[in-house]
Symmetry: C2
Subunit: 190 residues, 2 copies
DNA sequence: CACATTTTTGAATGATCACTCAAAAATTTG
DNA sequence: CAAATTTTTGAGTGATCATTCAAAAATGTG
């Protein structure tokens, strides 16, 4: 065959799902072979090695997340209006069965300094999310205010990702973020 | 030998350090053998298996953390006064080289539903931390207020643990938590 | 349609995984 | 101090790990 036969996006979809759920280390190549339907040789030809497939899975996830985020931001007048909806969606997501937290957050915490390059790769995608919030906040805030508010939003998102993974209490999460982010336009939620 | 020869607390210290830094899956028994100085047979006689050693390491870490937290809370008049110092210490910690985030948070996110028992074990220790904050907050707050504030504090702590692991900006973290926790007695910090 | 090129196949590789166990050593007990 | 009990030792276990590669199959090219 001179043309690629498999659907790369479907392969990345299933690889992402496996890595997301089990983590980088705990996902074996044999699991990936089973999940993607590809034979070992095909994976190694297309992605180099396990780390290569992991990186492309991270990118696949990050691109979808960023696109989804930009879509949400575009739907509202201001970021102060959009964020309550975005955060509510994260909280709703966290109460689903088989909730896996955030692939980027999980990967960030799993990687140690021995995998500095991979860790930086993840870190870069997380910074991209923060800069999206920062840019939006610059419209109605000074640079210092926008920076602090973006950091606060990121910490609350991380909070939801961790808190929501070990407890199942939407109400508790909502009360927490309403208290911590009082400058958002919560009144437009209903 | 009819008496245990090795110092259990020293063994748990080094095992905790390895699990904390590398994660449960990525820490091999051979690494643990090298780090603890014990031979495989001794580890298995004392702790049953890798999971048993991991659980005792989690408990070792959790007990130290809770004791340290209780010590900090006892030093101040109110929890509103104590928390700025506690959070500042977490931020300072996050800027150290070889910072490993929080062992409990990392473990919580690493474990999937396939390891439900271990996951619950971690979850229980995290809830213990939250209930400590909740109890302290009950002194000056209604039950509903104390509950929401405790959730907010936990989310900010999770935020510091994740944010501080991928970025190195004490200032950004401080600005973020001052903004999100305005009801704390920040003025007593200096 | 033949030949060059590229992809797929899947059994096999050596390394490393968690874990075992019989023998040796250390300690308690009588 | 001798016998009983318990711990330590460390080479060895089969299973699973990431990865390879020669042969087969599928396409592009002239």
């Amino acid at each position: 065959m001179a043309r690629v036969q498999f659907d790369k996006s479907k392969v990345l979809e299933s690889a992402t799902h496996a890595f997301w759920r089990l983590g980088y280390t705990a996902t074996s190549m044999q699991t990936l072979v089973a999940q993607t339907g590809l034979k070992p040789g095909s994976i190694y030809l297309a992605f180099g090695n396990k780390e290569g497939l992991f990186k492309e899975s991270l990118d696949y996830y990050a691109e979808q997340s960023l696109a989804n985020l930009e879509g949400m931001l575009a739907q509202y007048e201001s970021i102060e209006e959009a964020l309550p909806h975005i955060l509510l969606a994260l909280i709703e997501e966290s109460s689903q069965s088989e909730y896996c937290s955030c692939f980027l957050v999980k990967s960030q915490l799993e990687l140690s300094d021995e995998q500095a390059e991979l860790k930086q790769h993840v870190s870069q995608r997380l910074r991209k999310v923060e800069s999206l919030y920062f840019e939006g906040l610059l419209k109605n805030n000074s640079e210092a205010e926008a920076s602090a508010k973006a950091a606060s939003v990121m910490m609350h998102i991380f909070g939801i990702r961790v808190y929501g993974y070990h407890t199942n209490s939407k109400e508790q999460l909502m009360n927490g973020i309403r208290l911590g982010l009082p400058w958002l336009a919560w009144e437009t939620l209903h």
